[in-house]
């Protein structure tokens, strides 16, 4: 029983990082209806720049956070300019395929920046874990969970309550009309990508600060975990992204405990498969799906 609870706690904490990754994803895929496979690799580029200043100049944690987020944002804008801005809104497949090509490019760029396979990443909090009766809570895990909840609330506010979020949703519903009521569509979409990458950058920093190491494979890992968590939680739903991350984290934690690390990923993909078969729109995916169809109807 103690093991069960401890595993669930660990799962929730790790799941928070998946949720954060899914949050950035859902901003682009759920809200803009475009799949950016280079999302993870953009974060990885940010993390590499963060590691670079840590290894070369032994930069402090604040500088590493800023560098990681800034690098992720710049890489995100680069991907948007190259793969998404030139394509018509209807050419989602073309954007997705070109974002795959840029993924490869970004991985090679990371290897050029730092050629060894693995580099150290500065830890966030090194203190002893909190003891709560028989259970242990790591401080960096708690910070991750807090960040996930705060950021998702912030993103939810921006998308559904702020004028900028309304402008984004107006663009998805009716791009031509959005132009003609004075919305700067190009700049708004670019800012949405930048925002998603910033969220991803924060997520990437937190994950790597816990792992304390970074490899070029982190890009693929971030894309996969974010994508799975988003699909389980529900496309385009911001609470769904966090919830999907938590579910994925808990399921992984328990399968790791019972079956070991090889089976863990197997279970994660099985969970995704079951979710796609039983509930294709995801746990909280109904509302946004209806929303898009309303947008189309009036278009």
């Amino acid at each position: 029983m103690i093991d069960f609870v401890q595993n669930t706690i660990d799962g929730v904490m790790i799941g928070a990082s998946y949720g954060l990754l899914a949050l950035g994803f859902t901003l682009i895929f759920g809200v803009m209806r475009r799949l950016n496979l280079s999302y993870g690799p953009s974060i990885m580029i940010g993390a590499y720049l963060g590691t670079l200043i840590y290894v070369q100049f032994s930069a402090g944690p604040v500088a590493v956070v800023v560098m990681t987020v800034l690098g992720a944002v710049l890489a995100g804008i680069y991907v948007e300019r190259l793969c998404f801005a030139p394509m018509a809104a209807s050419a989602g497949i073309a954007s997705m395929v070109s974002s795959f090509a840029i993924w490869m490019q970004l991985e090679q760029a990371a290897i050029l920046i730092l050629p060894r396979h693995t580099y150290p990443f500065p830890p966030l909090a090194t203190g002893a874990p909190l003891e709560l009766g028989p259970f242990l809570l790591r401080i960096d895990h708690l910070m991750m969970l807090a960040c996930a909840l705060l950021l998702s609330a912030g993103v939810q506010y921006v998308i559904y309550r702020s004028r900028f979020g309304l402008a984004l949703r107006a663009i998805i519903g009716n791009p031509v009309a959005a132009h003609l009521v004075g919305i700067d569509v190009k700049t708004s979409v670019m800012l949405a990508f930048a925002g998603a990458s910033a969220v991803g950058g924060i997520a990437g920093y937190l994950v790597l600060a816990i792992d304390q190491q970074v490899t070029p494979m982190f890009g693929m890992w971030a894309t996969m975990k974010g994508l799975i968590a988003m699909m389980i939680g529900g496309l385009g739903s911001i609470p769904g992204a966090i919830l999907g991350g938590l579910v994925l984290g808990v399921v992984e934690a328990h399968s790791l405990w019972h079956f070991g690390p090889q089976v863990r990923d197997l279970v994660a993909y099985l969970l995704l498969f079951a979710c796609l078969v039983l509930r294709p729109s995801g746990i909280l995916g109904d509302a946004p799906a209806a929303e898009t169809s309303i947008g189309r109807r009036s278009a």
């Binding site: 921006v158 702020s162 004028r163 900028f164 309304l166 402008a167 949703r169 107006a170 998805i172 519903g173 009716n174 031509v176 009309a177 959005a178 132009h179 003609l180 009521v181 004075g182 919305i183 700067d184 569509v185 929303e291 898009t292 309303i294 947008g295 189309r296 109807r297 009036s298 278009a299």
Partner: protein
């Protein structure tokens, strides 16, 4: 205030608009009429910058705006409605206006955070007043997609006004409306003109144009064939042949 000089648009081999010269004076209601396919909607699309000109220029207050993107033209004071309604269906009525609202300050000078993350009390009051003017205040929290057709038409008009334009392009605002709704539309267009807004009205409904317009321009096959006071245009034999003649025959 608005001047079209030699406005030309070809779609492949189709001469949709051919060397049209037209000027709209400050504070007037100019009616633009013509048979189907005569290029009326294309002219509206060219004025608001939806696609590039083949030739000619669009001047606003004497400045050439031919190369500006659509959203920049809106900030200069040109707003429009659409013949086929293009609302943001997933947003509420109130949000449709908010997202289109122009704070009235010079573009780029206003605070980005205030413009995009919040909204001033004054701005909210303006939206409420616009909704009342169009008799939509009681619907302000409904999704635009759930409105009745007539309400959607009014919301289109209201949204165009939210940008606080000095020139409004109305693309067939009466399409699908009943007699009572057209009366209301007539009244609203006049009130708007009395408020100092210049209006370019494109309309199939001849009675409405004849009643409300100060001047009328007539297009046929992408060219302007007549221009003048409603009575003169109505009496013009070219116009009768091209447009009114066929309308009475049909």
């Amino acid at each position: 205030m608005l001047e079209l000089q030699g406005l030309t648009k070809h779609f492949g081999g189709v001469r949709a608009v051919e060397k049209v010269d037209l000027s709209v004076a400050q504070g007037e209601i100019l009616g633009l009429i013509g048979p189907n396919g005569s290029g009326k909607s294309t002219i509206v699309n060219l004025i608001c910058g939806l696609f590039p000109l083949t030739d000619g220029r669009v001047l606003l207050h004497g400045t050439d705006i031919s190369d500006l993107p659509p959203h920049a033209r809106v900030t200069l004071g040109i707003a429009r409605t659409f013949q086929n309604i293009r609302l943001f269906g997933q947003l509420t009525v109130w949000q449709n206006l908010w997202v289109a609202q122009n704070s009235g300050e010079q573009f780029g000078q206003e605070n980005f955070l205030r413009r995009w993350l919040g909204g001033s009390r004054r701005a909210r009051g303006e939206i409420d007043r616009t909704l009342e003017f169009f008799d939509l205040a009681h619907k302000s929290d409904e999704l635009a997609a759930n409105l009745a057709f007539g309400e959607q038409r009014r919301l289109e008009f209201a949204r165009a006004l939210a940008a606080k334009p000095s020139l409004v392009l109305l693309d067939e605002p009466a399409a699908g409306m009943n007699a009572e709704e057209i009366d209301q539309l007539d009244r609203r267009i006049r009130m708007l003109r009395d408020d100092g807004v210049t209006i370019l009205l494109i309309e199939h409904h001849v009675e409405l144009v004849m009643s409300v317009a100060d001047r009328i321009a007539v297009l046929n096959f992408g060219q302007k064939i007549a221009e003048g006071a409603p009575a003169d245009v109505q009496a013009n034999p070219l116009v009768r042949e091209a447009y009114l003649g066929t309308a009475t025959a049909a």
